[in-house]
Symmetry: C2
Subunit: 258 residues, 2 copies
């Protein structure tokens, strides 16, 4: 089947759902309908991709080919339990949810996991986003691979088990990293320094590991075990126990890994 | 004085010393001499910039205009204590060392702090590196500003107190961030997945905060407080207490900041 002829239904209207829907639309797919628990959210997204919308699972398009579930992990099961009987393939986009979760509810199932951080306020070049595919038949895996390949140049199959590990690693590399940027920004702003002084450093920190393994790229007082500086820094953070705890734990961890 | 006519002596041969020496050389400055405690290191660096070299403070060029101390913080004071009497300006390149440290040893003192991560294996475009200048006279501050401005397009004056804060923020934004990359890489490699699958995510994580404040850019299970995923991740890390401790602390910290 030509994947662009698929009748696609999107369940969800969050960050991943929004970016995926818009990338599919731009790539020439048509999305028949967007579902969200909040009608306004369904409508907002649907309007950008000329789709129908609903907040009622009873009104879901009954003859879809591909139902894409892009929901907060904890919302997935309740929604699946509330669904009427539907045809086609059920696909989710989550890193940590095993394919087997669908099996109780449906026969043809798959996963299309885009390994990227998506915020509504920011465009992402989907071509560079690695997609990880899984399905319970080879035929459906091939179909999902075709869909993902129309969006991205990096598509590969990966088991649920490995996808879960990849997602956990991504939490370290993105969620936690971004939080350290936020802590650094907070520290500067509390001292009336503009946080964007750090941007050239943040840029180079990321660019450096394109060529050097992060273990080779490590610099700073912790890896030199420069006790004077470390103690001075801990003292500076004595009024901010959260930052101090992060400083201690990560300094110790760098020293251990070295 | 034309800053390119300065007789410069470099004390140190580490990452910062190496990058700074090579940038000065490329910009048309001449470095008369490199000192390192290890003769071989002094020689290696000196050869790339056509300088003399020594491992003996007694042999330091006695008529320098600018002595740049680019040493591990803890080595700075012992070296200063061992010096013969010298003319010119003493300058260091450290984030956390106050200008006042020099005052016991010398009359004309300054700081040129490049806010960047430097490794010998990787070139850095010095033009984009922010330099922070301090000196105990306006005239010397102007001279150091002229030197730094020949290397970088981002030069400003900053007090010792504020530089210390900036350095601490840089530890979060670079040293700790890079360590999270290393932890993520370790996790993937232990599960036989190539760590560079994360590169598009790392790239976007850094690029995202060029436009969004890190607090707005935060995504993932911690900020959604997706307890299922968080507990699953903690279980996956039960055999790796270091990673588990980092996961717990940073997840809690993201949740608190939100």
């Amino acid at each position: 089947m030509n994947p662009k002829k698929l009748k696609i239904v999107l369940i969800g209207s969050g960050n991943v759902a929004t970016h995926l829907a818009q990338a599919l639309y731009k790539a020439g797919f048509s999305i028949a309908q967007v579902y969200s628990r909040t009608l306004e959210h369904a409508q907002q997204l649907a309007q950008t991709i000329h789709a129908e919308y609903t907040d009622n699972v009873g009104e879901l398009v009954p003859d879809g080919d591909l139902y894409i579930f892009s929901l907060k992990d904890s919302a997935l099961q309740p929604v699946l339990e509330s669904l009427p009987s539907l045809p086609g393939i059920f696909v989710h986009t989550a890193g940590s949810v095993p394919l087997s979760l669908f099996e109780r509810y449906h026969d043809r199932n798959g996963v299309m996991y885009p390994l990227q951080t998506f915020s509504k306020q920011r465009e992402v070049d989907m071509k560079t986003v690695p997609f990880f595919i899984e399905a319970n038949t080879q035929e459906d895996a091939r179909l999902l691979r075709d869909v993902a390949s129309a969006l991205s140049s990096q598509v590969q199959e990966l088991s649920s088990e490995r996808r879960k590990t990849l997602h956990l690693a991504a939490v370290f590399a993105n969620n936690f990293t971004n939080h350290l940027y936020a802590q650094a920004a907070d520290l500067l702003e509390k001292n009336e320094l503009p946080w964007d002084l750090l941007l050239p450093l943040i840029r180079e920190t990321a660019a450096k590991v394109e060529r050097l393994h992060p273990k080779q790229a490590q610099t700073g007082p912790a890896v030199r075990y420069d006790k004077n500086v470390i103690n001075e820094h801990l003292k500076m953070l004595s009024h901010d126990p959260d930052k101090q705890a992060i400083y201690s734990l990560l300094t110790e961890s760098i020293h251990k890994m070295d």
